[in-house]
Amino acid sequence: MNDLKKIFTSKRISLFVRLVVGITFIYASIDKIAVPQYFQQIVQEYKIVGGFFSWLLSLVLPWIELTLGIFLLIGLWPRFTAAAIALILLMFIIALTIVAIRGQEIDCGCFSLKSSDLNKENPISLIIRDLAMLIAIVFVFVHEVFRMKKPSG
């Protein structure tokens, strides 16, 4: 139990996870902010939201990813940031699960939107990747909770 607590209170591990997830989120937002209309097409390919909502999502989501990525990287409001990222990852996982249940193969468009980089991927592998990030961000959240509870002095 103490070992587990040691891991969760380790500043180094938390910093490392924050760096990895933060940079991943910033990187993932770049192409989507650059050409939102490409991203909208990918959102529509998921066939979960269409029309106005796909347009709204393609405009707003990348900026949220970028903001949360920067906040996580520099450690601003870490509990809130970690919780928000976890929520977004959960949203991605749900979307990918729906796609997987339908048996669809999609161009994820998670990072690059360059046509030559887009390839149909099995949603299961994408779910596994997002789950790994979710576990990592939950770790950051728990670490921050422990840190706040720690008596000062």
């Binding site: 390919e45 970028l66 920067i70 887009l118």
Partner: protein, 332 residues
């Protein structure tokens, strides 16, 4: 400085750096989209709606060759170009996307254009821009089953001239391979069919041989570029050269060609066995496929490298010729 203010400053700095990256990626992605009609480019993700209201997502058209044609209903030749292509390939895994201001007219004239043909009367200019197609001309494009650019041509030339050949090559993988022409023999000097021209080309072990097989000549085409390179290498003393013409030229044409182009190496017309062999291939394939063959051989005639239409190696071959600058350079 309080820690929180410091963090905000860092956040701002990161944001500025990211904005630079965003600008860079925006240019790269838009450039990629606007160059879709050029070699090695992929057709970007585009959503279109045809004149019947059917939504087409280019991204979902994988596993099918895409034939895109900007049709001008004013010109019969343009419609004929398309209809010939359609009739020949309609049963193959190919999707026809037709862009025209006048879909009703086309469908009225050709009711056979069934659901395999999507006609678009909107987004024509947008597509032309993406593919880099001049709006004053009729162009058609071929994209392979991975949406990668394959070929384009203007449609004032007959369909049979280039497009049919490229479609055959892309879809059926049927095309003339130079190995069929040369057979198992790898030495130009040992080929009886080439005896006449090879006797005119001096044998020099320190020089290479460049032998061109041409059906016609146009200075601004591939043949013109190759001739300039051959002349350069011949002039430098790196290579001995020779040219053979088939079919379209007469002996006086050959003499005029030599004078006008200032050619100092042997140029002859194909005759006898060589000519009949050539004709046999033209009956099987199209003349386009056999239009230009360039062979590089060592001084004693051993074939080193061959350029011909089907090898899709013109850029590499041309670069290879360009790099041959001095006598001292070793061939290859």
């Amino acid at each position: 400085m309080p820690q929180k203010s410091f963090r905000w400053i860092i956040a701002l700095l990161i944001l500025i750096i990211v904005m630079f990256f965003i600008q860079y990626r925006k240019e790269a992605l838009i450039k990629e989209k606007s160059l879709a009609g050029q070699s090695n480019a992929k057709l970007p993700r585009i959503q279109l709606r045809d004149w019947r209201g059917q939504a087409i997502d280019i991204a979902n058209l994988k596993q099918q060759v895409l034939y895109i044609h900007f049709i001008d209903p004013r010109f019969d030749y343009d419609r004929e170009f398309f209809i010939k292509a359609y009739r020949e390939w309609k049963d193959q895994p190919i999707r026809f996307l037709l862009f025209s201001n006048d879909p009703e007219k086309i469908v009225e004239k050709y009711p056979e254009l069934n659901d395999k043909v999507n006609i678009f009367d909107t987004d024509i200019e947008k597509m032309r821009k993406i593919l880099g197609s001049d709006k004053d001309f009729s162009f058609c494009y071929l994209y392979d089953d991975d949406r990668k650019y394959y070929f384009r041509t203007q449609t004032f030339t007959p369909y049979e001239y280039l497009m049919r050949y490229e479609m055959k090559k892309l879809i059926k993988k049927e095309y003339f391979r130079v190995e069929e022409f040369f057979g198992k023999q790898k030495n130009l000097r040992q080929m009886n069919r080439l005896k006449e021209i090879m006797e005119l080309i001096p044998q020099n072990k320190r020089k290479f041989i460049i032998l061109g097989f041409l059906t016609s000549f146009c200075e601004s085409c591939t043949e013109g570029t190759l001739l300039r390179e051959i002349k350069r290498l011949h002039g430098l003393g790196v290579a001995e050269a020779g040219m053979l013409f088939f079919e379209t030229l007469t002996p006086s044409d050959v003499e005029n060609f030599k004078t006008q182009m200032d050619v100092k190496f042997p140029v002859t017309l194909a005759r006898g066995e060589l000519l009949s062999e050539w004709k046999r291939f033209i009956d099987v394939y199209s003349p386009v496929e056999l239009a230009t063959i360039i062979v590089i051989a060592s001084g004693d005639g051993e074939i080193v490298r061959v350029y011909y239409r089907g090898c899709d190696c013109f850029d590499r071959f041309f670069k290879y010729l360009k790099e041959m600058k001095t006598k001292e350079e070793k061939w290859p």
